[in-house]
């Protein structure tokens, strides 16, 4: 069932489509018309496209906060998704879900806001698939920081013990919300996955062809009843944990953010109470985090999965794909924004207003 022949044109089409929808929503967020939080999957397109290209409509995908791209990749109507994220009751989930809890049962895809729950949900889907629809698989997307969540580790074990058709995708962007993951993680994640008895593959998540090949091997294996897989892929989150991430603000507008944070940190460091070594360790911790962020955003920021995809198809094909996608996604966001109407603020609409 796997489509192991890699089709770079299709990969680039998917990735472009995802990026355009994400960008449209990020812009809308900054324009103040997306209520609440928004976690974009910009930077993860190579991973998402490389994996989804192997899936059929009945395979299940269990998603995290960065769910817009996978849902678009699964075929959800962009305008319907945008309306939901913009807070309209005409959205795909009738305004009940919003960005963090999007559900698309028609393509067996859904996002849960509880970190790590994609693991056990995929295990459950796999049990159901084994009983009702042999050959179908379940894919759980999660971050490297989620590897410290008990229920995810428990689901690794259940999947391995019961040889379930599950693929766990660990998207490693090195950051756990605003905490550097390695500072709160023991051991090595790939070795940890092997220790659970999962079949392991690794790939550079910015290279869609590499991801596609590695995922294909694990998915074929799982479909054949040979047990679950774990795909470790590296990536970067240029937008930070979510839009408005203070770390990104610090990197983009250091002077402004220093003005906001500076006085409090200074007060703390100069307070009479607390030992000198405590104060030094505290300030050093903040400095180290800033330095790590600056390094990651500089080095990793240069690796854009779409640039890689563009090289795979060539400029002429890429331009044609981009133009077609831009027209469609541009129309979708224009329609969605028109449906919402001018909204400078949220949370303040009187009952009945949209």
């Amino acid at each position: 069932m796997s489509r192991n022949g890699f089709d770079p044109t299709e990969a680039y089409r998917l990735m472009t489509r995802m990026r355009l929808v994400e960008e449209a929503l990020v812009t809308a967020w900054h324009d103040g018309i997306v209520p609440g939080e928004y976690h974009s999957a910009i930077g993860e397109e190579g991973i998402v496209a490389g994996i989804l290209m192997h899936l059929a409509g009945h395979d299940a995908t269990l998603l995290d906060h960065r769910n817009t791209s996978p849902l678009i990749g699964r075929g959800v109507d962009p305008e319907s998704l945008m309306l939901e994220v913009l807070g309209s009751e005409r959205g795909m989930n009738r305004g009940m879900a919003g960005h963090m809890h999007l559900m698309a049962p028609e393509v067996h895809a859904g996002a849960d806001g509880m970190v790590g729950s994609g693991g056990p949900l995929a295990v459950g889907h796999a049990i159901a698939n084994t009983a009702l629809h042999p050959g179908r698989i379940a894919v759980a997307f999660h971050g490297e920081a989620t590897s410290n969540q008990g229920m995810l580790m428990e689901s690794y074990n259940m999947a391995a013990a019961w040889k379930l058709p599950v693929l766990f995708v660990c998207k490693d962007n090195k950051w756990s919300i605003s905490t550097y993951s390695k500072s709160v993680t023991g051991g090595d994640l790939v070795k940890r996955a092997r220790g659970f008895g999962l079949a392991v593959e690794t790939a550079d998540g910015t290279k869609v062809d590499e991801v596609h090949a590695a995922a294909g091997r694990l998915i074929d294996r799982a479909r054949a009843g040979k047990g679950p897989g774990y795909l470790h892929v590296t990536c970067h989150r240029p937008g930070g944990h979510f839009e408005g991430d203070p770390i990104v603000r610090l990197l983009k507008q250091p002077a402004t953010q220093a003005k906001v944070w500076g006085p409090g940190i200074k007060d703390g460091a100069l307070a009479a109470s607390g030992t000198r070594s405590d104060r030094i360790s505290g300030v050093a911790e903040l400095g180290l985090r800033g330095a790590r962020a600056a390094r990651d955003w500089t080095l990793q920021g240069r690796k854009d999965p779409l640039r890689r995809g563009r090289r795979l198809v060539g400029a002429a094909v890429a331009d044609r794909i981009e133009a077609a996608q831009r027209a469609e996604i541009g129309a979708a966001i224009a329609n969605a924004r028109a449906a919402i109407g001018p909204r400078r603020t949220f949370g303040v609409q009187p009952v009945g207003a949209r």
Binding site: G98, S176, T179, G274, A284
Partner: protein, 421 residues
């Protein structure tokens, strides 16, 4: 249940079925603490209050409606420092109290997701062992808090949102709640669980719950949710000093924490001022801070016709409703519970006896919660109180207009109040 030595919600001895409703206002034992505010409802609210608040700050409109401008916040705080108070934002006041507690007692430590960044002032002051970032391991770092408390520390374990604490619920309901009794009262768990709660800013059904009714059901668990910066600071100090587990809920609409990510410095296109109660977001905090005893309600507004009862943001919604009712000549009192457990039953009954009518506005689910608990309290009192409640009756929707309608807004409270008149 009665065998549990520390059972909550003990009825006061005076609340016997023979007590009759008192038609006129009686001298009250409830703390009368009108909210200091810069909004336009001050005059009506203070009209019949005999103890004007000595802490009323100088005029300060710089930061009341903009949670996110931290620079403005700090400037405002310095300017408003007078008569033993300093103007602080809600979250800032909590950290102020925690800082005092940590300076006083080095057994007080805090950990949770991202606390080093969100409480960077405390990190810079107390270092990375007393202010510790955790992995995303809610069940383990909560249970570890219980272990640390049993081992002699006084941990303040933080969850960004109480919704996330549900991942570690066993620690609260099976361990923190039980160990004191299992050990025959010899092993205390002096832990604070600090967590964001509540909505009104479109964070969806998994990020805006309060759970305070459910949490209050368990033995040995205290639950508080302040409605002002002063209360936030005083209750945090009491929570850290308590030898029991205290769930300290930090309302996300009043706290600058989440809103700072979602508006203001992050995106100036968003302004929360129309939905965000100014008097709860920013206000005077006593610099010589004293703990506010857990389980003491505060009367925010006196009124002889009906009593509106709530906590957190609900208090401000009740004050809005009281203004609306006052325009029609209906005098509504507003009682801020501050604690769900222990519940200040005496204060509720006292106000109920004065007005004979009670509306509870609860930003928690309708079923099995605070509104039912207070209904039972009133019924058991035999006072013959007329009662109505406004609470959350569905999954909290994401879309702003749907969310507003689902939460206990002032319009719903006003309608419920009128139904009793």
């Amino acid at each position: 249940m009665s065998a549990i030595p520390t059972a909550r919600h003990a009825r006061p001895a005076t609340a016997t079925p023979t007590s009759a409703p008192t038609p006129t206002a009686t001298p009250t034992a409830v703390r009368t603490e009108p909210m200091t505010t810069t909004t336009n409802r001050t005059e009506t609210r203070h009209a019949d209050t005999n103890t004007p608040d000595p802490n009323t700050p100088n005029t300060d409109t710089t930061n009341a409606s903009t949670p996110n401008s931290s620079a403005a916040r700090r400037t405002g705080g310095d300017e408003a420092e007078s008569r033993g108070t300093r103007r602080m934002n809600y979250g800032e006041a909590i950290d102020y109290a925690l800082g005092i507690a940590m300076a006083k007692d080095e057994r007080v430590v805090t950990w949770g997701e991202d606390v080093q960044l969100t409480h960077r002032d405390l990190l810079a002051r107390f270092g990375n062992e007393r202010v510790r970032d955790t992995p995303i391991s809610e069940s383990a770092f909560l249970y570890a808090g219980i272990g640390a408390a049993m081992g002699g520390l006084r941990p303040v374990v933080e969850f960004i949102m109480i919704d996330f604490a549900t991942v570690g619920w066993a620690g609260i309901v099976n361990a923190a709640s039980k160990f004191k009794d299992f050990s025959g009262g010899r092993w205390e768990v002096p832990m604070v669980i600090r967590a964001g709660c509540g909505g009104w800013y479109s964070d969806g059904g998994q990020h805006e719950q309060t759970f305070w009714g459910q949490l209050a059901a368990y033995p040995n668990i205290n639950v508080v949710c302040p409605s002002t910066p002063a209360d936030a600071a005083g209750l945090m100090l009491a929570a850290v000093e308590s030898d029991e587990v205290v769930v300290f809920l930090e309302h996300q609409l009043l706290s600058e924490q989440m809103l700072d990510f979602l508006g203001g410095d992050s995106r100036p296109t968003v302004d929360f001022s129309a939905i965000r109660p100014a008097a709860g977001a920013s206000g005077p905090v006593p610099t010589a801070l004293t703990p506010i005893p857990l389980g003491t309600a505060a009367l925010r507004r006196e009124g002889c016709d009906i009593t509106l009862v709530s906590l957190g943001v609900g208090v401000h919604r009740c004050l809005e409703a009281a203004d609306t009712l006052a325009a029609d000549g209906i005098e509504a009192g507003v009682l801020d519970l501050r604690s769900v457990s222990p519940l200040d039953s005496a204060a509720i009954l006292e106000q109920a006896a004065i007005t004979g009518r009670v509306v509870v506005a609860d930003e928690d689910y309708l079923g099995g919660g605070l509104t039912g608990e207070i209904a039972a309290l009133l019924l058991e009192s035999g006072l013959g109180i007329r009662y109505a409640r406004v609470a959350v009756e569905q999954t909290i929707p994401f879309a702003p207009h749907l969310e507003y309608a689902a939460l206990p807004n002032a319009e719903r409270i006003t309608t419920a109040a009128r139904s009793l008149l």
